[in-house]
Symmetry: C2
Subunit: 366 residues, 2 copies
Amino acid sequence: MALIAPSRRIRRTPFSDGVEAAGVKGYTVYNHMLLPTVFHSVTEDYRHLKSQVQIWDVSCERQVELRGPDAARLMQILTPRDLRAMLPGQCFYVPIVDETGGMLNDPVAVKLADDRYWISIADSDLLLWVKGIANGYRLDVLIDEPDVSPLAIQGPLADELAARVFGDAIRDVKFFRYGIFSFAGRDIVIARSGYSKQGGFEIYLPDSDLGMPMWNALMEAGRDLDVRAGCPNIIERIEGGLLSYGNDMTRENTPHECGLGRFCSTETAIGCIGRDALLRVAKEGPVRQVRPLSISGDLPPCDRLWRVMAEGEKVGHVSSAAWSPDFETNVAIGMVRMTHWKPGTRLEVETPDGMRDATVEAKFWN
Amino acid sequence: MALIAPSRRIRRTPFSDGVEAAGVKGYTVYNHMLLPTVFHSVTEDYRHLKSQVQIWDVSCERQVELRGPDAARLMQILTPRDLRAMLPGQCFYVPIVDETGGMLNDPVAVKLADDRYWISIADSDLLLWVKGIANGYRLDVLIDEPDVSPLAIQGPLADELAARVFGDAIRDVKFFRYGIFSFAGRDIVIARSGYSKQGGFEIYLPDSDLGMPMWNALMEAGRDLDVRAGCPNIIERIEGGLLSYGNDMTRENTPHECGLGRFCSTETAIGCIGRDALLRVAKEGPVRQVRPLSISGDLPPCDRLWRVMAEGEKVGHVSSAAWSPDFETNVAIGMVRMTHWKPGTRLEVETPDGMRDATVEAKFWN
C-alpha cells in the first residue's frame, strides 16, 4: 500500500476530525471523498463490529436530491424497480441502469415526500446521469447534492446506543424505514439500514456543522458499550453477500447478473430507462451471475479481477476476497458462467500469487 | 497521510507494474483509478521535471468516446466553446457546464473524424452526463469508455525522447494537435499536450496489452537522458496556473470565474447547454475569479478550502498551495472577489495552522 496524497478534490467529511482522532490507518476514495477502511486491523475491526457497536463515517454515500412536481416521475424513469407503492418513510434499494441495462449505481432511494427524494449513492457520479436525464426529458425538477452526510451506527448494540441518544422510539423503526428524530434542536432522518449484516442505523446528518457534535454525542453515550470508530469491513460484507459497486458490479453488468433481479419489475416499471434491454434478460435469465466462492490457500489483496478457470477455460472472475476468521476459509464474491455456477462446483482462481482451488457455495456465509 | 486500501474499484492501469517498479510513494484517486503523486519527493520530482524528461501514467484521464452521425451535434451541445472550425487532428480544451453554467468537467476534446471524438476527462464521471444528455435528446450516437489510456512524456527533453521512439516527424506536431505514429505495428494517436508547462506529448495508448511494452520502450530509449517515472507535480502546476477540476473549480463555478471565458463563445455556440446562464455572465463578467496568490510562512498541505480574509471579512478562498523552491514563496490558486482581486492587494489566508499573509499576483509564475 502507498500513501494517499491530500487535496481538496478528495473531500474531507463533517466527521474527519473524529476519524483522525480515532487513529484511522487506511482510506479509500469514494465519490471523491475520504472513506476510512481500517482503524485497528481489518480483523480486529471485524470482531468488534460483530460483537459491539461502531460509528461509521459514510459521508461518501452522497445524496442526489430530487425536488419538484416531476420528482416521482423522474425517480421511476431512473429505475426498473416498480415504485408505485413507495410511501414517504420508506427506503428502497433501487438498481439504476442505462439504456442497455448496464448498472450505473445501486443506491438506496429515500422518499421524503411525494415530490422529494434522496438517492443515497454508491461510487459513481450519479448526479450527472440524473441531471442529464432531467435536462434531456425537460422535467420540472431540481437536482442537487445537498449538505447531507450519512453516519452509520452498526453492530449488535446499535439499538441500545441509538436509543440512548435519540430515545426509545428509535427501536421501533423497521428495516429500510426511517423516522424523524431530534438532535440539537434539529429534525434528523434516521433509517434502519447500513452496509453490514450486524444491524443498525444510518443518520442522514443535515448540516456539516452538526458533524462533530453528533459524533461526540454517540461516542460519549456508548463509552460503556465499547463503542468505536469503524467502517465498512471487507470480511464481514463478503460473508454477508453485500455487493460493492465498482468492485463486484460495473456498467458491464445487468441487475440480473448481480442477483438483483428481484428488484426489477420490468413489466410494470413503465417508462424506465433500460426496460427494453432488461425485458429479455428477465425472461431468459442471465448467462452469468454473482456467486459466493470459497478459496483455499494464502491470498494477496484483491485489487483487480482474478480469472476463474475450469479445465483451462475462463468461466468467470473473482472481484472481492478476504480471509474469514469465523468461517475459516477465504470468502469471495465472483461472477460465474451458468455452466459452472452449481453449488459444489470445483474451480480454479488465477491470482497474482498463483492458482488457487475454489468452490461455488450455495449461499453467502451470513 | 494514511495508506490507501487496495480494491478493484480503485482501478489499476496498463502502466501500474512500471509505476510500482519505479518506487511510487504516493497516490491519489482520479476517475476511480490510481494516479501517482510522488516518486522521490515532490521537490525532487519537480526539479527533475523542469530539467529532464519524465514518463507519466495519466491513464486516469479516461476517454469518453462519441461515435455516430450525431457525434458532432452532441459535442456542441456539451460545450459553450464554438466547435465549428474544429478539424480532425485538433485538440480543443472545452469547458463542460450544466444548465446553470456550473462546471462539470474541463476536458480536452480530440476530434478523430467528423463523426468520432474522444473527450479526455478530468475527475468526474462525465460519461454519465454525456450518456444522459444523448439519451434525453434521443441522439444517434454511441457513447462509451474505450480501452485508451494516456501516457505523457513531459519535460524539456520530451521532443528528443519522443523522436527516438516515434521518429523525427513527431517534432513537427504543433501544440494541441495530434499525429498518428506507429508503435509495435499499431497506429497510435500522439498529441502535443500535457498537464505541465515544460512541454511534451500525450500518447493515447489504444490497448492495455501495449502498456508495459510502451513504458519499457520509452524508459530504454531515454536512459542517457535520465528519464524517470513522474507525475503531475503540484508545485509546477500551480506555478504554471494549471487548474485542477475538483480542487480549483467545481460545479459551483462558471467558466468565467475560472478564467476560462476565452473558451466560451456563448453567442455563437448555438444549442449548447448553459447558454442562457452564461450569456449574462459573459456580458457582466464574474464577481469573483481565479487569481494567483503568494502566501508567506509555513503551510500545511491544502486539503480543504482556506478562507481568504480582508479586514475580518471573507473575500475568497484558496484551493491549492505549495512551496515553490524556484520562486521562493508559497504559490497558490485562489478564488477572489472583484473588490479584492487587483494585483498587489494584501490579504490574509486562514489555514488550519493559523493566519498567513498573502498577496494577489498579477500573473502566474511561469
